[in-house]
Symmetry: C2
Subunit: 189 residues, 2 copies
DNA sequence: TAGGAAATCTAACGACGTTAGGAAAGTGAT
DNA sequence: ATCACTTTCCTAACGTCGTTAGATTTCCTA
């Protein structure tokens, strides 16, 4: 993990891992069936850490603030651990195992959305759809952060903004009718 | 390109590329400085094709429909060309070059958003922020499509839904006041 | 037809993931 | 202390990768 985070995926070599512990390459295969299994372990631990940080960020009082702060923390994590995050979402470990590793974090989002819809009296058309949208958006903003033209801090801001916008949009759809294209937006029931 | 799309990035080998054209490996280096440059060329062509498809999808009449259809087409492209799309967003080609390749497609989004805000009389707090959010969201939904639990069709639907929700949210923020919160304390702009 | 230029191949280097088989080191009983 | 046995670790190798140097072939021109 130390090697991955400090020198990137390209440096994460079986021989290099072994050498950093004063061993030779074959020793690694006594602990992992192959390199993919090793990377998967790193990915799982990455999601564990991410989950812990998201939980801590979701301890605010009001539900909207909690969601927004979780979103910001997600992008912050991606910015702090770029190589790890890219391994967590890369093509080395297949999609199914990644999803399984991410499940608890997604559950956290589901809980937050549940509380949110309950608090605001908004029934989302599909709870699971809403969760996926939020999850996907966070990943999208995190990916933006790696572009030189965006950067982590702005990506974090964008995540908060996107989050607030989506929540607002859901409240608008939830409250039926809502906006009118003209000039005076009356908020209908 | 044919090899990448049909057999994936793992099969995209210099020797394999050469063999498929009845040549040997060194010949490839007369056309590309190294493998990264070759992959970059594929990425650029991928963005060209994506841009063309997005343009075609953005020919509907009403502006909201155009944006939503572009969003769906983006995710559709990612689903139709998974290996190419993953190369376009992978870590092999660095972020700066990817951004440059994606620029025209992002410009298209900017134009659409411009027309949208003009049509609805909504002035977005930051045009460029809005564009990045939309762009990032599309990527997020596309990434979701690769999960077994989501799939391309649902990801496409989610993209349309996320798109509509965000637009609705922007109209709500743009029209000030908008919804009455009822009780929730929310952070201002 | 000879000679130079262009095109292409063979062979190799170092590094990779991975495996097989042997050396070394500890452990227990005699 | 010596033997057998198990555990631990390393050396050596295989095939593949990206990449480069040098030889070889092919082709055009004078």
């Amino acid at each position: 993990m130390r090697l991955l985070e400090s020198e990137g995926a390209a440096a994460l070599t079986i021989r290099r891992i072994a050498a950093d512990m004063d061993y030779t390459a074959p020793i690694v295969y006594q602990h992992f069936a192959n390199k993919d299994a090793l990377v998967l372990e790193l990915v799982v631990r990455g999601y564990d850490q991410l989950l812990a940080e998201l939980r801590r960020a979701g301890e605010a009082s009001d539900i909207d603030g909690r969601i927004v702060r979780v979103a910001a923390q997600y992008v912050h994590f991606a910015g702090e651990h770029p190589h790890l995050y890219q391994a967590m979402n890369g093509t080395v470990t297949d999609a199914d195992e990644r999803r399984r590793a991410a499940a608890p974090a997604i559950d956290l989002l589901t809980e937050l959305l549940d509380a949110w819809s309950h608090t605001h009296g908004v029934t989302l058309s599909d709870q699971s759809d809403a969760c996926e949208i939020l999850w996907g958006t966070l990943h999208g903003m995190a990916a933006l952060g790696y572009l030189d033209t965006v950067g982590t801090e702005r990506a974090q801001r964008l995540a908060e903004q996107a989050c607030r916008t989506i929540l607002l949009g859901w409240r608008a759809t939830g409250s039926a009718s809502g906006l009118r294209a003209g000039s005076s937006p009356k908020s209908g029931t």
